[in-house]
Amino acid sequence: MTRDALDPPGASDPAAKPAKFHWRLPYGGETSGGTWAHKFSTEDGMPDLQAQTEFCRRAEACGIDSLLTDFGYGKPDPMLLAATLGRATEKIKFILAYRSGLFSPTMFVQQLNTLSALIQGRLSLNIVAGYSPQEQHAYGDFLSHDERYERTEEFLAICRALWKPDGEVNFKGKYYQIEKGALKSRFVSSERAWPEIFVGGGSAQAQRLALKQGDCWMRLPDAPEKMRESVAAVLTGGVEVGLRLAIIARPTRREALEAAYAMTEGRERDREFVRASVRNMDSISFKAMFELSEAGAEWLTPSLWTGAARAYGPAAIALLGGPEEIAEAILEYKRLGVTQFIISGWPKLEQMVYFGEAILPAIREKERAAV
């Protein structure tokens, strides 16, 4: 299925619009440490509504657009969590991470439409094809990496067809067959007729999928010059580009470095856990990222550090430094055409607040100066 009239006009000059900043919502049991080994404990499986609602409200106050709500067998279901948190907040949106293969696309759209009516459309989607075969097996999914991308494309094509204003959906693909599909609940939002779709993944398949069915391609950061080509290709296709990354920001670079080393010191057990997890993954970009950091290529640029990935997983590739240094690094990505950022930081709440107070104003200032 090709892209259709539902699409907004392609971002003609991405640098002219202010960038959007999203943050990862911490799970119930996550302490300020939040390493991967910890992520798989039962405390994380339990929502902590008080702390999470507080996090949402602080995010609203910080100028954060959306909170990424992860999906995985270690965690509660993202959209049900968003249904509760969204009704306790007013502005913050939720980027719900999901994978194809777990739901009938019709049922998935029905759930999202119902949620949209309850939280004024404050949701978008982060669709990934899955990075761990073991985890997919736990959900009854035994497809290979490439097949999962093929299926995800069919899945999103059906979802998008169901979000069209009217008409029934007929689809006959390799993985899904839908006959006269229709839903009465609509996607409710004052801004859009369907949720914004982020497609995550560094492989060529992920990029292709984003171009066909996404609104924004999400990837891990690299040195800007190494990203130039792939970013340009995606932008030409009318799709935005976003980065999933961490920040380690302190008032000075020296303090940031000290924090980084303290964070990763003595984490042998976590490193073993991450090493084993990554070994079992079939995600191309996660593996590549991890191998870089294992090979000792810790600094991809003077402020882009892979060191935390060894204890915290591949999404912990981090911009490190003082506020000015980080703001400048983000602006450099923006000049390439990157317009959205999904960030994590440590300690989780404090780092987001620091970003809102010290870094975001610097970024906005630079954005104004650039226009």
Partner: protein, 372 residues
Amino acid sequence: MPLRFHWSLSQAGDKSRGTRPRSEMSGLLDFEAQVDFCRAAAASGIESVLMAFGFYRPDPMILSTALAARTERIKFMVAVRPGVLSPTAFVQQVNTVSALTAGRICVNVVTGNSPQELHYYGIFLEHDQRYERADEFLAVCRAFWERGEAVSFSGKYYTIKDGKLNTPFVAGDRPAPEIFLGGNSEAAEQLAIRHAHCLWRFADTPANLRERVPPIIAKGVEVGLLVSILARPTREEALKDAYGMVETLSARPQRVGKEFAQKTDSVAYRATYELAEKSETDWLTPCLWAGAIPHLGSAAIALVGTPEEIASAIMDYKAAGISQFLFLSWPAFSRPDIEEVTYFGCEILPLIRQKEREADAAAYQVSPMGVI
């Protein structure tokens, strides 16, 4: 054991429920009306509200979560169709709701009653295959709820390897949700016996139920009745409202109930429809009325009468082995659901509890002589 009562939330707040073909129904919510209904139901002795599943409705799992945040006691009986999601993802959703609501969730398994609608969801299995798959689905779910080793399962429809979930089912009183299952077919009975706590049946005469219910109970499964209710202070008023409803419906060109009965492959829907068609009168018992079925479908089989008549009819069912009731009401024709449920709580439920106490006392007196 005292009888347990549930009520269908359905489209509380949507006055058109049951009056139009499903394809014309609105999926929009009147959320505040539904919150009010949930609170009134809890105050009226209703244990849970049924959250139905269908393409013309909002999603029951999401809606339950949002309603639970505004209520304190009522439970949500969330309908699920095996086949629309991975059992692992389903258990994860149920467990998440339990953690967000202090365990106020139970599950109503429906295998689907309209082949056309199942095609919307990408399901192309036949009736019996759907039951076969539901059997595997529930086996996987229950293995997750046992919380022992990682779950592995290899079946015809599902293969799961080393399944784990960190979000447990959280409820003070149980390690897993109560499972209800609807259906009249042999396949439904067998499935309930294997996996469910309670099998829902459409209402029938106590005499018919006395034959079919005991063998199921003997296998350790409760049997509940799904029945509409129209209660008024006098029999005249009840009849006037019931017949008035049929009059309104007869003026409409479309026979929603009849059309649906022709298309469905659900044994329960067809059986109840045929029961109504074959009966020489609309009254299967002095209190059990089939007059609305041709217009509204099988779920419109109804208890109609005064509080005393309905309470007595319910006690007759209890004597036949029925232990739970799931009521539907007709907001479009007579009065809003919230009034019907409140009337039940004020006028009928106290009579039932009184009769239950009397019956218990009588049983206690005769049991030493071995009569029971």
